[in-house]
Every structure is written in structure tokens, then in C-alpha cells.
């Protein structure tokens, strides 16, 4: 069965410091990976998708199939980045249902 692991429940960084939120997955096939974000008092929303290879709000994530990882990175953290981040995957034949990790709370301190 597919599984997503986010080892850090809480990550605290200073404003301007680099950020890396870790995500590892287990799935025998070729999954599609996503990062979803939930800002305070807002609903869960898509941040980025590995296939798009985009940078959204300065965040990037590269799929590393050898290490089965999809870490989320940003070179300089901003206060508005403070939020809950969830890594998730879908897989072929899964009907686009998402399997989520347990989430990492990012806190950017001034």
C-alpha cells in the first residue's frame, strides 16, 4: 500500500533562512506527488504538483525517485509562509484519491 511520511511535526525557522520540509513516500509504481498547504483559518489548498515543475510563492519541490522523496524547499522564508504543509500522493488506478502525510507545521519567526 502507498504511504507518505513527513518526519517533522514542527519546523521553526527565522525569517530569511532557508526552509526544507521533508517528505518521503512508499509506492511500488509511479505516483504523482503534491504539496498542499493550510494557512491559519483557511481551507486546505494545493501549493504545487511535481509534474508542473513550477515555483509557487518561491517554493519548489523535486521528485527524487531513487530516494523516494519530494522535499519542499524555499531559499528565504517569509513570515507569511507560516502554515501547515501536507505532502500527498495519488497513483494510477487510484481514481485521484489523495494519500496524505501527517503534516509539518512551519513557523517562521522574526
Amino acid at each position: 500500500a502507498q504511504r507518505v511520511t513527513q518526519p517533522e511535526k514542527l519546523l521553526s525557522v527565522f525569517k530569511g533562512a532557508p526552509v526544507e520540509l521533508k517528505c518521503n513516500y512508499s509506492y511500488s509504481g509511479s505516483p504523482e506527488l503534491f504539496w498542499y498547504v493550510q494557512y491559519s483559518r483557511q481551507r486546505l489548498q494545493l501549493l504545487l504538483r511535481h509534474i508542473s515543475r513550477e515555483s509557487i510563492k518561491g517554493f519548489t519541490a523535486d521528485l527524487n525517485k531513487g530516494e523516494t522523496s519530494f522535499h519542499l524547499k524555499k531559499p528565504f522564508a517569509q513570515e507569511e509562509d507560516s502554515a501547515m504543509y501536507y505532502c500527498a500522493l495519488t497513483f494510477t488506478g487510484g481514481g485521484n484519491k489523495l494519500t496524505f502525510g501527517t503534516g509539518t507545521q512551519l513557523k517562521v519567526e522574526l
Binding site: V4, Q6, K9, E32, R43, L44, Q45, L46, R49, Y86, A88, T90, G95, N96, K97, L98, T99, F100, G101, T102, G103
Partner: protein
Amino acid sequence: GAGVSQSPRYKVAKRGQDVALRCDPISGHVSLFWYQQALGQGPEFLTYFQNEAQLDKSGLPSDRFFAERPEGSVSTLKIQRTQQEDSAVYLCASSYYYEQYFGPGTRLTVT
């Protein structure tokens, strides 16, 4: 336009009561998903509809959980004889393509 809406936003039920949670998806979205999010956990898949057809209900934890989407739009998640372990936030999401748009959730507390 309006996003996904869910009602009620909060529900307190006594153990053993039945509850019904409603989801209004974004107009035109073919796919609708239900997830359960326990405290401190990520959302967990419950069930999935494509139009009115329930294509996957593998995540429903017991036969006390039932979902329907009779006209391919609004969906209802029903929980019969609620138990304390049913306490969670229930999220609904709809999609047209790959991106799922989430509602605000219904927080169910079973006392």
C-alpha cells in the same frame, strides 16, 4: 465563484446518534471526495464519486458510514450510531481535473 461549502460547520452528537454531513461542490466538478481528519493527523480518504456513481468506498471505516450523491452534485455523508472514535474533521473536496478544492470541513464531536 463560490468554493466548496460544507454544513454544518460544527456538530456535537451524543454517542449512538445518527448524523448527516452535507457537501456542496463547485458547480461542474465531476469528482467529489470525502476525507476524515483526526486531531494531529493528515486527512484520510473515505470515499469518491464520479458524478452520481460511488466508484471507491474503500476508506469507509465501518458499515455505519454511508455516502451518497444522488444527482451528481450535492453529497451527504451519513454516520449511524456515532461512536467517540468518529470525532474528527470531515473534509469534502471536488475536482474537475487533478486539483482538489477543499471545503472548510465539518468538525464532529461525539460525546
